[in-house]
Amino acid sequence: MFSKHVTKDISAYCHGELSPEAARQFAEHIIACAKCRGEFEEIKQGIKFAEQLPQLEAPESLWKGIEARLGEERRVDVSRRAWRPRLVAVAVALVVVAGLGLWRLWEKTSQNHLSNQFAQQWWQVQRLDGAPRIGSQQIGTTGRLGIGEWLETDGSSRAQIAVSSIGTVDIDENTRVRLLETAPTEHRLELERGKMSAMIWAPPRLFFVDTPSAVAADLGCAYTLEVDDHGAGRLRVTSGWVALQLKERESIVPAGAACETRPGVGPGTPYFEDASKSFQSALKEIDLQQNSAAGKQALNALLNEARWRDTLTLWHLLARVPHDDRALVYDKLAGFVAPPPDVTREGVLQLNNFMLARWKSVLEAHWNPIGIGDKKGLLKKSLVPLKKPYVPER
């Protein structure tokens, strides 16, 4: 059953003010509910702005003004000499209070780690195998990865990171990662090289992984990400969705699909891993040299091999193939799933952003039946069934 909307709790969730159980229910709802997710994105942006609010420094002259206005009559008979021993006592008391505070903080953190999810500036790391290192220090059974610190594994070590309370990341052998940010509105890891597997249960676009050739934005999912020594990467999604981005270039990758990334180019075109080998090799060719004769030949081979499910690849190719080839891709795509009534052939060929997004919103139900905000399959129900074979416009 669909749970109640959670918009009233959005700020409280972002500030870690909800109980662990309430936070879990919140995340589950927001992954499934497009309405709440829309408001979540807006409030998250508001929080990002509010975090830019600077604290100001009071002018030096302020105390002199206060002192002058206090007046002599308020001066009491407490000399500085009498105060100094008490100042020492106060300092000692402050140290004791601070110590007690730290101890209580530690106690509270260990008892209720989840409720403090957004307050801490580090992530818990657990050793799985061998001797992972944080900085130059080997960790024991567990360790803490602070902001700016590197976690590194060698050929025989592995580790698991608890990403605040929103998920886990398994770090494979020969991998180097760094914690860049952990804040209410953003958790960000850098994968310099190696392989990691993430399992995230949080609202979309809260967890990011920077790689040398793209940024992986979690949309509520499980995935593995590999980066080789040259900075090229490969993403495989096992559940949910991931967006790979580099500047204006973005690839949306659903469960069962994969996507390569290359330094200086960004994310390639995503494809389902059960696509034929010839489809995959043709796609690789297109991504590498789409403007050449070989690229054109590869496109024809890909279109011949394309299945209904490969609309994922075809939709992404619309904006990536040369203009002259776009009509071929459009016709193939429209042959599988008709565009909605408000999407025209001409508009798509001109790369009208609204029309591309509108068509994608229909196609997404094919790419991942339990899509973003589509646990009830609403998008799938909105599909326009093809009553007769599609005939390309001439």
Partner: protein
Amino acid sequence: MEQRAVMVQQPIDGNVIEACQQGDRDAFQLLFETYKDKVFSIAVYSVGGDRALADDVTQQIFLKLFTAIRDFRGDSQFTTWLYRLVVNACIDERRRRKRWLPWGEIVAMKHTGDRKPQEKQFARVEVAEAVREAIAELKPKFRLPILLKYIEGLSYEEIASVMNCSKGTVASRLNRGHSQLAKRLAHLNNASTWND
């Protein structure tokens, strides 16, 4: 100079408060030094950016504190009690002046912080300025919880205690405040350099 809002509260020991209650000027100065920037920040944001006026409001707050601290019995946390005093003083000032002064109309904010030529640094300064303006335009009931959250680093429970309302009300007002900030500053969403 400006500092980014920090979420750390310097502790003021019970002995310092007791000394203040006995009229000890040095103890009071210690208390002043601990809270002056935060109190001044709230005052500036509450009076539309007029630093001279904020200076005066801050002085009044500390003068009142110097007298009122004798009545502090420790029934609530000192910070909660202090910020209640600050919030009330700012609300009184608003009533006295009948209206909030539009941001920047009186005195333009003077930036003495580093203004590195890099685009990112410049973008951050511009965004901070836009955020200050947007916050100044919020209704006080939405603005004050935001100031208490981001300048003072208070929890929802502490904000509720300062504002004499429920935690649910604090959550709701912060939601509304965040939402309005996002709408007013939507034009900055594409300026990605500031939040990279």
